[in-house]
Each structure stands twice: as C-alpha cells, then as structure tokens.
C-alpha cells in the first residue's frame, strides 16, 4: 500500500544502506527490474538503468559512473558476459541475479563471482551487494598500496589506470564466495 513505505518492518534497516552509491541494474524482466530499482532508491542508492539489453547496458556504462551492479544473466540480445567482464575488470563489485547457473565462460573466468538465485528478496540482495562493496574496497586499498584511495573506479577506466594491478594479479578475487 502507498502508506507502507515508512516504519513498516519491511523497510527496517534499508535506510542509508547504499548512501548515494550508483548501482547499475541490468534485468530484462520489467517487474523484477522495477522492483530492484525501487529497492535501490529506498536504500538511498542512485539507480542507473534498469537496462534490459546488453546494448543498453553498454551505453549506460559509457555515460555514467557505475559503482556497483546487479546483473541478470540472460538478456534480450544475448547473455551478460561482455558487461560482466567490463565491470569486473574495472573493479566494480558485481552480483549476478539469475534463475540459472552462470554461463561456463563466466564461471571459469570468475569462479568466486557472487550469485543470487532468483527469486531473492531485493533487500537481501542489496545487503549482499553492500558486503561485497566493503570487501572489494578493502582489497582495493591493499592492492593500491599508497595510491589514491577512497574512490571507486569507473568501469570505463582500464584496469591499469584504475590502479588495480595488485588485485588483478591474484588468480581469484576473494570477494563473494557465497550464493544468496
């Protein structure tokens, strides 16, 4: 109901969870996409998208600073692999949100990628995203060792420019070892 937004048990702990972090949502099922977008807004995050196709998502990545992402796997014009690679290589924390397992290529390349199986309540998914961002941030600071920190790199920066060398040298990033 319209008046259920504030103070109801559903929204407990949501406030300020994302603290203006910009979250790219890639999901081609409109109801799921809008539900995720609303959850991000209620958690005080900034929504980029939702994008329903690979093409749309690539365009958004070029235009906006993406600080975290929730990615559906099967999109209307192909699977999410190119977007996932671009974001993960750029150090952006990513959660896959899918009813299926990851495509083999992605699973092999990023064995410890975080996956939330559909359906997962959006709030739970965002909590996982926040946890992932915290881990990813602390790893980045270790990897940078004296470089400028505190800024999440945009996806359009190449890994070298983003100062992620240390992170990329480790064979498997430690973040995200559990599914939702």
């Amino acid at each position: 109901m319209a008046n259920a937004g504030h103070g109801s048990d559903v929204s407990l702990g949501r406030d300020a969870l994302l603290n203006q972090v910009s979250v790219l949502i890639v999901e081609n099922e409109p109801f799921i996409a809008l539900d995720l977008a609303t959850a991000v807004e209620e958690a005080r995050g900034k929504v980029i998208g939702p994008a329903g196709s690979v093409r749309e998502a690539l365009m958004l990545i070029q235009q906006h600073l993406v600080q975290a992402a929730v990615l559906d796997v099967n999109l209307s014009d192909g699977d999410v692999t190119p977007i996932a690679e671009l974001l993960i290589e750029g150090g952006v924390p990513v959660i896959f949100y899918s009813g299926l397992a990851l495509p083999v290529a992605l699973r092999e390349r990023y064995p410890s990628a975080s996956i939330c199986k559909k359906p997962t309540p959006p709030v739970q998914l965002l909590h996982k995203l926040v946890a992932l961002m915290a881990t990813s941030q602390s790893e980045m600071e270790l990897g940078e060792a004296g470089g400028k920190s505190g800024e999440t790199p945009a996806a359009k920066e190449s890994p070298a420019e983003a100062g992620l060398v240390g992170r990329l040298e480790s064979p498997a990033p430690k973040w995200g070892t559990r599914a939702c």
């Binding site: 109901m1 319209a2 259920a4 937004g5 081609n28 099922e29 409109p30 109801f31 799921i32 996409a33 809008l34 539900d35 609303t38 939702p50 994008a51 329903g52 196709s53 749309e56 209307s76 014009d77 009813g99 299926l100 199986k117 559909k118 359906p119 309540p121 959006p122």
Partner: protein, 240 residues
C-alpha cells in the same frame, strides 16, 4: 557336422543381433531420459522465473496501489494475464513432447480481452475489433506482450474506451520491413482533455517491456477523441 556348424553360426548371429537390438533400445532409453531431464530443468527454470516475476509484481503493485482492494485488483489482473499467456504456451505442448506453435497474436489478444467481453455483450458486439495477419509469437516474447496488452486493456477499462458503454477499441497490425507494427486505437470513450503529465507504473512497465525487453519502439498519442498507442517490434524478437 555342417548342420551343427550352421546351427552354431545361426545362434551366434542371433546373439549378436539380440545384443545390438538391446543396445539400440538402451540408447533410445538413455536419449529419452536425457530429454526428460532437459525438459525438467527447463520447466524448473521457467517456474523459478515466473515466481520471480510474480514477486516483483506483488511489490510493484503494492507500491502504486491506494487501498488493499485496489492492490488486489491490479495484482489479480496481472497474474491472470500471465496465467493466460502461459496457458497458450501449454496448449501448444503435445503429449509426445512436440511443440505446435499456436500462440498467435490474435489468440493472445482474445485471451487478454476475455475479461472484457462480458462488457461487450451489453453494448455493440464490435466494441473490440482485433484484425491483422496471423502471427506466431515465441514463448519469451509472449509473456512480455501479454503483460503489455493487459496494461493497455486495464487502462482502457479504468479511464478509456472500456470505461463507458459506447467506447470502441481497434487493435490492428501489419508486418513491414521486418517489424510488427501494431496500432491500439480507442474511440468514443470518455474523451481526453489533455495529455497526462506524468507516467504511471503501468505505463512505465509497457515502455520497459516494449523498448527494453522486446527491442521495439512505442508512441502514445492522446487526442480529444481517444487514446492511441503505436507499437513497433522487430519480428525476430517476437518469434524468440
């Protein structure tokens, strides 16, 4: 001696034949089991996806509804549209596992308008006109299109041509340069004073489905005599 040898050779040959028959039937059984497993996995994926959509529907419908009754009505309408679309898919699935594609645009529109045909009985029998070339719609596109058409029909029932007895809806389509061009035209409804300034949830959903999910284009036109929607969808997306 020769007869014994011949009998032995015959027996041996028969054993080989039996073994190969057995092997062939074993292979067939394995193939059938494999198919069964694939089908089960595919069904499981679809059910999970439907649950995810239904959960999204509940939260979205809750956010845009003013009262519990309002929410129930909106939600039931959407769930029913989803169920009717799924029904069209199931009807095409034969007992032998073969899929006969019978989810056509005409059938889908008839299914979507079905709740409103009682209204039609009391007024002009031609209140709702559906006309265009027969067109098979693939399963993926079917769900999105069903929800789009449902949102448009709901809107017509709330504010447009289906909200009063005399209103008319014409849904016509043609195929041009690899695209489906569908025109939804409402006439003799309550009349429109001005173009709405903000987009409702239903309208956002329609736009996301057509543009984001089906890779198409969408235009709304509000004229004093009634609302029209123009939808264009690439044919290859419709059949997927």
């Amino acid at each position: 001696m020769t007869t014994e040898l011949a009998a032995f050779a015959g027996l041996a040959l028969k054993m080989i034949q039996d073994a190969s028959v057995l092997r062939a039937s074993e292979e067939r059984l394995n193939l059938a089991l494999h198919r069964q497993e694939m089908l089960t996995r595919e069904m499981s994926h679809r059910v999970k996806n439907l649950f995810a959509i239904a959960i999204g529907m509940v939260s979205i419908s809750a956010k845009s509804a003013a009262t519990p009754q309002d929410m129930a009505k909106t939600l039931l309408g959407r769930l029913n549209a989803l169920a009717r679309a799924h029904d069209l898919v199931l009807r095409g699935l034969q007992a032998n596992g073969q899929i006969i594609r019978e989810a056509t645009l005409t059938r889908l529109l008839e299914a979507i308008f079905q709740p409103y045909t009682d209204l039609a009985r009391t007024g002009d029998p031609k209140r709702i006109v559906i006309s265009g070339p027969d067109l098979v719609i693939g399963e993926r596109a079917l769900t999105s299109l069903a929800l789009v058409l449902h949102e448009l029909a709901t809107n017509a029932a709330k504010y447009g041509a289906l909200s009063i007895g005399e209103g008319l809806i014409h849904v016509t389509w043609q195929i041009e340069a690899g695209n489906l061009l569908l025109r939804w035209q409402e006439r003799k409804g309550p009349g429109i004073e001005k173009t709405p300034t903000s987009e409702g949830f239903g309208s956002i959903l329609v736009r996301r489905s057509i543009v984001g999910q089906l890779g198409g284009e969408l235009d709304y036109i509000w004229k004093p005599e009634g609302f029209s929607a123009f939808i264009s969808i690439p044919m290859e997306r419709l059949s997927s």
